[in-house]
Symmetry: C4
Subunit: 228 residues, 4 copies
Amino acid sequence: MSVVTDVNATIASIRREVCLLHAELTRYQLVIWTAGNVSARVPGRELMVIKPSGVSYDDLTPDNMVVCDLHGRVVDGERAPSSDTDAQAYVYRHLPHVGGVVHTHSTYATAWASRGEPIPCTLTMQADEFGGEIPVGPFALIGDDSIGRGIVETLSRSRSAAVLMKQHGVFTIGKDARSAVKAAVMCEDVARTVHIARQLGQPIPIDPRDVDSLFDRYQNVYGQKDNS
Amino acid sequence: MSVVTDVNATIASIRREVCLLHAELTRYQLVIWTAGNVSARVPGRELMVIKPSGVSYDDLTPDNMVVCDLHGRVVDGERAPSSDTDAQAYVYRHLPHVGGVVHTHSTYATAWASRGEPIPCTLTMQADEFGGEIPVGPFALIGDDSIGRGIVETLSRSRSAAVLMKQHGVFTIGKDARSAVKAAVMCEDVARTVHIARQLGQPIPIDPRDVDSLFDRYQNVYGQKDNS
Amino acid sequence: MSVVTDVNATIASIRREVCLLHAELTRYQLVIWTAGNVSARVPGRELMVIKPSGVSYDDLTPDNMVVCDLHGRVVDGERAPSSDTDAQAYVYRHLPHVGGVVHTHSTYATAWASRGEPIPCTLTMQADEFGGEIPVGPFALIGDDSIGRGIVETLSRSRSAAVLMKQHGVFTIGKDARSAVKAAVMCEDVARTVHIARQLGQPIPIDPRDVDSLFDRYQNVYGQKDNS
Amino acid sequence: MSVVTDVNATIASIRREVCLLHAELTRYQLVIWTAGNVSARVPGRELMVIKPSGVSYDDLTPDNMVVCDLHGRVVDGERAPSSDTDAQAYVYRHLPHVGGVVHTHSTYATAWASRGEPIPCTLTMQADEFGGEIPVGPFALIGDDSIGRGIVETLSRSRSAAVLMKQHGVFTIGKDARSAVKAAVMCEDVARTVHIARQLGQPIPIDPRDVDSLFDRYQNVYGQKDNS
């Protein structure tokens, strides 16, 4: 099989994966209408695959996913890519370990974001997945690099795979698109549980040494050997 | 094809569209039992298509949608039209750019309405879709023009596609029925997120110039060229 | 067809109706596990049809519904009837206009019940369906007439089709089982919306004359002529 | 049929039951992604059956359930068992009447756990199922006996079938896996309802003698003779 065939097969497989993962966003009610998306890097290429803009989740197919370069220019696809493409392309350019990015306006996480307040680490699940508090990134208008730069700067100072962009919503990252979707699901779950806990009192913070211990175990031991 | 056949085909197509769009109201849990409805204008005619009154969403078919004139009188259909027909007909008579109207009692939006409190603009998504705060219309009894007049007067003073009718529920408008449904879905999402943000502090307002910039981009750039 | 065949056909039809209506309780998430039930009077007979006790909603069939007399004694059926049978039988004995009864522990209504607080009338939907506040009935232990008596005494002093039994849950009534289910669905919706409204301020009460006017119209005009 | 065949048939049946019961965790939204699990004791054997670690609920089959001994060592299965296996094995070793264990991070119960606050008994449903308040167990790191010991010590001092492990989540027990799942479902329902009641005031406590009476009836009379 030639190198060209190889990369075509890889892109076809990523189109399917990115398309299917949107079903997790709707399953966990992280998105409404067309307001949220998943993208994935094409490994070893300066390319990414992302949802088309303004298309209903019911109408997504592997074929209507859009392939862009890492400056957000369409390389293959008949639709305009998500309006978040520039921000996500910026993340792929500046964080080489990131293989997937997700954007949502999930309710509870966005509520924390709208107050500009990070989510404190009070649950073992948050320590496991995020290794501490979930940080807040700056308010940024769409249309230039400012959203992407805000994501990258905030996540570079944190172990968290999620950032709450002020007055806007959530971006999550992962080694691949599936991991980024998992982080989006867990971010909303943590945001909701800590919110509810705070309504009737103060959730107890977890000791930073325990946070380290939980994060280390979860990242290295949890799950099956072949897919952890 | 004669003009008569033409308008019949158009009405048949609008019957299907209006019928199907009710599934978005149930999908996003904006309605219970029979308490909410979608209508659409028949373009170029003094006609509208609306849900029958008191019929379960499971039992809706294109055929049992009701065609009325713009004073709410039944022109075609065996069922009584929605009890909101007069209000929606008033909207079509007075706002010629409106092609669709939706009415719900969606939980969070109705909670704001029951306090008579507009939803402040603190989220980029709200700026995108509504261009500012979501306003409150007057308390009005069903049975004359007062609901329709309250909707029209309130929306005429606002860029918002949604109005919270005091102690009652939500009406949304759009260039067609699908846009009005989208506004209903986003209105509840915004109402919920801002409510939850407010429970633990104050969401940060978005600068009015940023609201203008977001609204302008979203109305003119977002989505696919052929359906934005 | 003989009178015996007639009543058998009626009972078979009510078994189907009561069985199917439980799907509305799960659809609107008014119940968990086996904790809630629907019953119906057999018109013109001293009989009622009710859910079997402790049977999962997935496993309900018309055949395993239980026929009891109006003292809760099993007349036909292989299962023990709902542990709420005595309370519901009491309602049928004392309120001859009631053709259906529903019991749930739906979340928001039960929260009001656990504080012993009636739901004030601040929404047109509540005025329409309940004609005023939703009242609280006494705390009562299961095992004798005290639950049934509490329901009947409370509802006899009110236009409401729903009563919040203190520290327990909700009972609703209707002219038939479907109407009682509708009241259960709307009671939870109202309980939730008013709760949420109250979290951030005070919902505005509806003027009692407007409540009367809304209730009168909804009970007499709303819906289709043949099924209002 | 030989004894060996017998135990194999029993294990096959338990694999099916444990696998299927995970669908109740997702149905009632007690879990997200892979964060929660069900196990069952193999009666008369020093064995248990549990969910594999980090496997999506969609991908569970009877065959990929894992059989462990009561020290958490894999006896049969190709996957690593849940990371909660040690804690659940500890429960089976020390509480011989327990036939099933469930672990979730269900939202409202975990919110109480994160404040280290037991759920007071203010609802008849809680008296029925839990016989009083739902207690809090200690904060414990994963990796040794401390979670299992915390569960056993807490539940040994209570009639409750559920324990809120501080800053972590919920463990429930039952005579079999189905009963433990039921306790998990009801624990979240009670946690949610009491939380919501407390948001606007104080739910009324149930008199301890009434709690005893309700608990006794529900444990001994409710449901069908053959499956109560």
